[in-house]
Amino acid sequence: MQEIQLIEIKEEILAEIKGLADQIRENLSEKKVFMLNIMGSPGAGKTSLILKTIQHLTDHLRIAVVEADIDSMVDSQKVAALGIPVVQIQTGGFCHVDASMVEKALDTLPLDNLDLVLLENVGNLVCPAETDTGSHLNITLLSVPEGDDKPLKYPLIFTISDVLVVSKLDYLDLDDFDLERVKTRATAMNQNIKIFPLSCKTMVGIKDWIVCLEQEISIFRNP
């Protein structure tokens, strides 16, 4: 009978892909390209926020978009209509984007002539939370119709997000969504999370979000 031995491993799961994500971040930083990872449920308003962000920043920043969907080109067509370079990742059933997919997408973009890459992750509050994409800033959208209990149901994504955008604020009057409750819950998960309630329809709060993003990019460029 063979003796059973205990072999120490002590390795982080997904460490390899994390290494690739760090490498992507480093390469982008060298080229002074800031990448934003935008997460949230399907229908939370990720594409709308991207379109609004482009409209506000396109005068002084060179922007490109990476769109990830399980299988469609709908979002990328909307972005392309604004004359912005866009690359579509079709994850083919995958529930999130990982660093290896991002690496391939970035290879097709003119990085030397870009300042900002907006990465739209697959609509999902679970899986994107466990995978580093190589972005400099993680933002999660939570739309008012989804309900204020989401930080309790999907806590992980709120712990890894730098920014929480509470979207579709125009629905606030029609809903029992409690904005203060979301703020308390999200902050308990993550003391450093910045919260921006806004509406892409009425434009309420958009300016604060744009100012925050501009500040983040400015700090990134002149550390």
């Binding site: 063979q2 059973i4 390795e11 390899e16 529930c95 003391q191």
Partner: protein
Amino acid sequence: MHELYVTKSIQQIVLKHAQKNGIKKVITVNLEIGALSDLQDEWLQRYFDRLSLGTVVEGARLRIRRVPAVFQCCECQQTYQIHSFYVQSLTCPHCSSAKVTLQTGREFRILNMEAE
């Protein structure tokens, strides 16, 4: 939802260590996964079984220790465990402060393996 993806990573790490140590058969893999993770134990094992067919890992059991979600209050420094995010308030049960930080619950690592 993405158990297959995670399982592939686990299997690769285990195989690498099995090869390095000249292992003939892996019996148990001990993992530490935080309470905040949505990974389902049953699906991790099912995918692992499937992926490890024909390797030294075939038939190995994943023993998963769930690390509880523990918060520390920034005001009174007390720590407390959250068993259910849905039922319990996240604020400090000792002084009611909302300034709290997550201490454990995000772990995601392979500790060791029992092997022949």
